[in-house]
Structures are given as C-alpha cells and as structure tokens.
Point group: C2
C-alpha cells in the first residue's frame, strides 16, 4: 500500500486514528512490537499506521482492537472522526 499524501488525507484523519491507537497502546504499557505481533501485523507497517502514514484497512483496525481488548469503535471515539 502506498504512502498516503497530505492531499488525500486532508483532515489528517489517518494521523488521528494512528495517534488514538498509539495513546491506547501506551496507556496499556504495551510496546509497538508486541501490539504488532499480537495483531499479526508487520512491525514496520504497525509503525506507519501509528504515524498515519498508511491507509489502514478495516480488518487491520479490527485486529489491532482485538489485540488491545477494545472495540474498533473506541479508536473512532478517541480520534473523533
């Protein structure tokens, strides 16, 4: 999946979701590597998702939520998007 340009993500929504994921992960004192491994997502891809550099798929959002024992919904509430 290609890097997402500012033009496409004009409201920085990918950045907001990534930040919401990161904040929840840090609150759980979980490393990014552990989250990636639990979720079954490539570690470098996980880093790019948290930085809002990738157009994350719904299945990956769900895998991340499952790995954090929360709902996908929670990320959207936190990000307010």
């Amino acid at each position: 999946m290609s890097r997402v340009s500012v033009k496409v993500d004009k409201n920085n929504d990918l950045t907001k979701i990534g930040a919401a994921i990161r904040a929840r992960r840090l609150a759980m004192e979980m490393s990014q590597e552990a989250l990636a491994d639990y979720a079954g997502i490539d570690r470098s891809h996980m880093g790019r998702i948290e930085r809002g550099e990738r157009n994350v798929s719904l299945l990956n959002i769900l895998r991340i939520a499952n790995a954090m024992n929360c709902k996908a919904l929670d990320f959207f509430l936190d990000a307010d998007i």
Copy 2:
C-alpha cells in the same frame, strides 16, 4: 483488493459495517450509485463494500461518511464493532 474469505472476517465485521452503511444510505433515500459517485468510489466496489465482500480502507470509510454527512464513528456505533 481480493475478496475477503470467511476465515479472515470470522466475526462478519465487514458485513456489519457494510450493512450499517447500507441502512444509513437507505434511510437517506440515496441510491447506491449516488453514494458511490458522491464518495468518489467505483460503483461496483461500493456494492461489494455494502455486502461485506471487501476489506474497506479507512480513507474509503471516511469518504463514505463525508458523502452521507455523518462521521465514520457512526458506522461503528451502528455496527457495534
């Protein structure tokens, strides 16, 4: 993007999001074609998203929400995922 197998979407979450999008669209009396056009998504892809046959990306969820004057969050609330 390839068709999503039942094995990958074991909780039918893609189906739930698709159904939530479809229900909101119908409540607005908007055609699937009009939604696809407003959102800038290929019409056949839009149909597959509503049927839960595709792993929809976050940017496309956001485009659909924008076309329906709602938040991405609303789909997740409706789908309860």
